[in-house]
Amino acid sequence: MAALSLTTYSQNQKRQDMIKEKVKTGIPGLDEMLDGGLIPGRPYVVSGTSGTGKSTVAMHFLLEGAQRGENVLYVCVDEPPNEVRANMSQYGWDLDKVYVFDGTMDIMSYDKTPVRDVSTERKVVTAKEVSDSIRKTSEKGPVDMSINTLQELLKQEMRNRKYSRVVIDSVTSLRRFYIKTSEEYSTLASFFRVLSDLGVTTLATVHQAEIYKPDAEAHMSRGEIRLHKWFDGRGLVRGVTIEKYRGSSHDHKMRPLKITATGIEVKTEGPKEGSKAAKTKEPEPKAVIEKSGEENQVARAESAGHPAVAEPPASSPKEEAKPPAPRKDSPPSECIPDEPDPPPPGGEQ
């Protein structure tokens, strides 16, 4: 009996330690969905169509690390660092401690220039040191950027500075533009492997087409956070799901996501009625509408000098108050579909 309780205790303790050790994403709601965060030293992907907030989620992840005094690295593949910094400055974040590596492609010169290795031309700098304008392709001609050179460069960089978090934005571009061999899968797997071996928790962004197709990156990663957005007739609705998470329990529901003036917010404790209502084709967040309707009613009644009218939640005024709410522009955040995929913005059958 004593032995049994001891085992239970140590198991619980182990579990507690595990959760403590998890790497926080910097978005509280998302950490909750991930049962505490990401398991350190593993590669993860954050996927979504364009404009869903992948880069912003990735930056949250790095800032969280920087705030904890870790070294964090942002590898730009799609956008030049000056644009990334300008975009992220809109959220009022202090990016000074984020290290940035400019992995963007040079302008192609289309004539024969001697190929120069990227490591001789590009250095990791902090976001503070990033120039305000775009880096100009050298007069000497473009440098050769490939996934292999990038991998070697990261290895080299890790020797100088121990990073605990790395973001690759985006691995889609990395695969499409920087893999020059036919062994796409193994090259990419090796790239992730190198980062794992170095003990880095990696978050790679994956661009998705509007109609979902599985990506190699998702297979390779230990977990996938997928961002969704769709138009529901009233406005844009955003959501987030955990599609896969090896070695950890996770939230199986889609949760509403908001991009606010200060960054990304994920709401995890939506009312039960909301998700039930969402199961119907046309999501109607009844509870919310009725509530706001009543509030309107209260406000109106009070201003009219009849506070007593608001006391009983009468059914007829409710009907009256109902129409204005659905026409609101802002998406009803409490209302979320239960399926892993959003009602397609058109077509998934």
């Binding site: 492609m105 040079d106 302008i107 289309y110 509007e210 007739g233 522009d329």
Partner: protein, 275 residues
């Protein structure tokens, strides 16, 4: 460094409102829509706004010969004489011997839209040149930019440019390079494009810093137009579709009006495949 980024007006007041001031300068954007949705008109209006502000604006015309564009916009009553144009509309093939691409790039001239006409020299050059490709366009633009600084460029259309470059090896990398090239020269670019195939992740939707989509719908046998901002990096934007009209004076967007219910449901009902 921080603080709100300066914005570039699109020339359409309502759309600027939707974009919270306009586009971020020095970046490349996509304007997509089916044929007849107003893409070229949009492009000209964007360039015209630049000219009005004393900027230099360049139209890269691949889909239509320049004189046709001039005639088309004349019906809108615009004086677009100051917009400069790079005529790369493919000419009739002669199947004769071709000269080197770089050589042609150096010679093909940019004219103003006012004087747009079928120029014998341009025609001769076109016939001699290899087909237009992403690669040759970048080289031509470089040649032009070395002589003259532009702040606005419209490529009409990226879809045609891609089709023309189909045989080119590594065309995707060439497009990434073209985007990079335009950024390094600090031009605000609008690439006109057909609606992207929702099942395919096109390189341009990956690289562009924003996408504005023009919709043309038939709602109870009446033509309805609206516009959506699909993506806009580094800026908040209106996420609702807004009604759009093409008038004598150009495109008009009402950023404060909601779409009629019937139009909304039609817009939603269109499967992604046809959008």
């Amino acid at each position: 460094m921080s603080g709100p980024l300066s914005k570039v007006s699109t020339g359409i007041a309502g759309l600027d409102d939707m974009l919270k001031g306009g586009l971020i300068p020095g970046r490349s954007y996509m304007v997509s829509g089916i044929s007849g949705s107003g893409k070229t008109t949009f492009g000209i209006q964007f360039l015209q706004q630049g000219v009005r502000q004393g900027e230099r604006a360049l139209l890269v015309s691949i889909d239509e010969p320049p004189q046709e564009i001039r005639e088309n916009v004349r019906s809108l009553g615009w004086d677009v004489g100051k917009i400069r144009i790079l005529d790369v509309h493919p000419s009739a093939r002669s199947y004769s011997k071709r000269v080197s691409m770089v050589e042609v790039a150096a010679q093909r001239a940019v004219g103003s839209l006012r004087e747009a006409k079928t120029d014998a020299r341009t025609e001769a050059l076109k016939q001699a040149s290899p087909d237009l490709s992403v690669q040759s366009l970048q080289l031509m633009l470089r040649q032009e930019f070395l002589e003259m600084r532009y702040s606005r460029v419209v490529i009409d259309s990226l879809t045609s440019l891609k089709s023309l470059s189909e045989t080119e090896e590594g065309v995707e990398n060439s497009i990434v390079s073209l985007f990079r090239f335009l950024s390094e020269w600090n031009v605000t670019t609008i690439m006109l494009s057909d609606l992207p195939d929702p099942a395919v992740l096109e390189v341009e939707s990956l690289m562009c810093r924003g996408e504005i989509r023009l919709h043309k719908l038939m709602v109870s046998s009446k033509l309805e137009r609206c516009v959506t901002v699909e993506k806009l990096r580094g800026s908040a934007h209106d996420t609702s579709p807004r009604p759009m009209r093409i008038l004598q004076t150009g495109i008009e967007v009402d950023a404060h009006k909601k779409l009629p219910k019937a139009v909304l449901s039609t817009l939603q009902a269109i499967p992604a495949m046809a959008r």
